[in-house]
Amino acid sequence: MINSPFVRKPASVQQVMLQVLLALVPGIAAYVWFFGAGILVQIALASAAALAGEAAMLAIRGKPKALFLGDLSAIVTAWLIALTFPPIVPWWLTVTATLLAIVVVKQLYGGLGQNPFNPAMAAFCLMIVAYPALMSQWPAAGQLDFSSQLQLIFGGARQVDAITGATPLDALRTALRAATNPDSQLHGLRASQLMDGPAYGMLGGKGGEWVALGFLLGGLWLLQRRIITWHIPGAFCLALAASAGLLWAIRPEGFASPVFHLASGGAMLGAFFILTDPVSGATTLRGKLLFAAGAGVLTFVIRAFGAYPDGVAFATLLMNLCVPLIDMNTQAPVFGHKKD
């Protein structure tokens, strides 16, 4: 029997997810423009794997398939996986990662809405730990045409080291570390000098900065549509920029500028699409600020001092861990119990 309220606002999970997917389109367009259409293959692979994995789990668990596949949440996870992985990873890596994300990190916890960790980021972390080499090979913008990308994705033997390198973020960090080593030929060079190469582009790496801009645009649209609030992207960008800026101000020769940090790697994607995942993120307003600020600082720390090329995924996962405690301790005072 239905009880009050008898009227409802026309809103649905499916609509929310659909808008998130739409918001990803500008970034994907920039990605294709600069790095080739290989990413579209990856997206297709991941989506197919996600739907298959979700359908299988739903079938095993006896849940209605059409309803839950139609909510599009698996597709969002799949797209995020494809967009955070290097575009030329072999197909089995994408597929395995997506299946792990959907089956283990999402469905084993009960499916939509119940997973404490962001499935896409958990998959990323798993893969970068398991296959560090494959997960660190990024083509430079315009370096590979579509057919060679396809060959890399589906082909067998890979001799990619010759043609691809690390992301600008990773490369810069390696270079900065080398610069402190007296034996290196880069010894004594400052960050600004190291970043003089064409691969670094204007802000955060050639091509990559435009992709980031695309994600920023999509994110702003989500903000305008009120799918997300400003708290998480705002606090994340601010914390990342502040922590990067602090060290940059102290030792400009040893650290990259905050703008570089914001414009490179997964910062924009993370700020607007990954950390804003409501299921695994904090939900109170103060909690969101804390959650995103923590992720920002951790991202910088892992990027600057850690062993992995980008810190967004680990930072997200680490902050996911803290979410229950953050939420518990940042509950806003309820009506009549405010101190004002």
């Binding site: 849940k63 209605p64 059409a66 309803l67 139609g70």
Partner: protein, 183 residues
Amino acid sequence: MLTALLVMTAVALVLGALLGYASLKFKVEGDPLVEKIDAILPQTQCGQCGFPGCRPYATAIASGEADINQCPPGGEEGIRKLADLLGREFKSLSEEHGVEKPKSVAVIDENTCIGCTLCIQACPVDAIVGAAKQLHTVVAGECTGCELCVAPCPVDCIAMEPIVDTLDTWKWRYPVIQIKQAA
């Protein structure tokens, strides 16, 4: 070898002295576990568990003499709570001790009652009022539904009647999850 023995003995002696002192200093009495178990039991005092009342049963559980699944009025939920408290596995109600029934109260048919006071003596919570050769009646609010008064009645005038919902006791039900196969 001798050094080793000496060292260990010295260490043991020092620590032993420390422990002895601490155990005197921080002595605790009483067993709070019985209280906790008793708080979970429904206090019907029906004796279906095989013990004369809820507290004796609680003591028996605490000392390991009785299992946690012998209380029909507490039902599955009670067993679950006991299992939680004691860190044991849940087990279903043991059948020899009875089955879970809807909550009810004893009602005395006042036309048949002969005022023998047998039920008054049987009632564990003094919920029946009356005197010898006078009509008895059950104070419904105090009755725990233990059924102990039913058997002693010589004229079979006591019946157990399930408690009917009133506006004060009516409960909203758990919302039915409406996930249908969206065809």
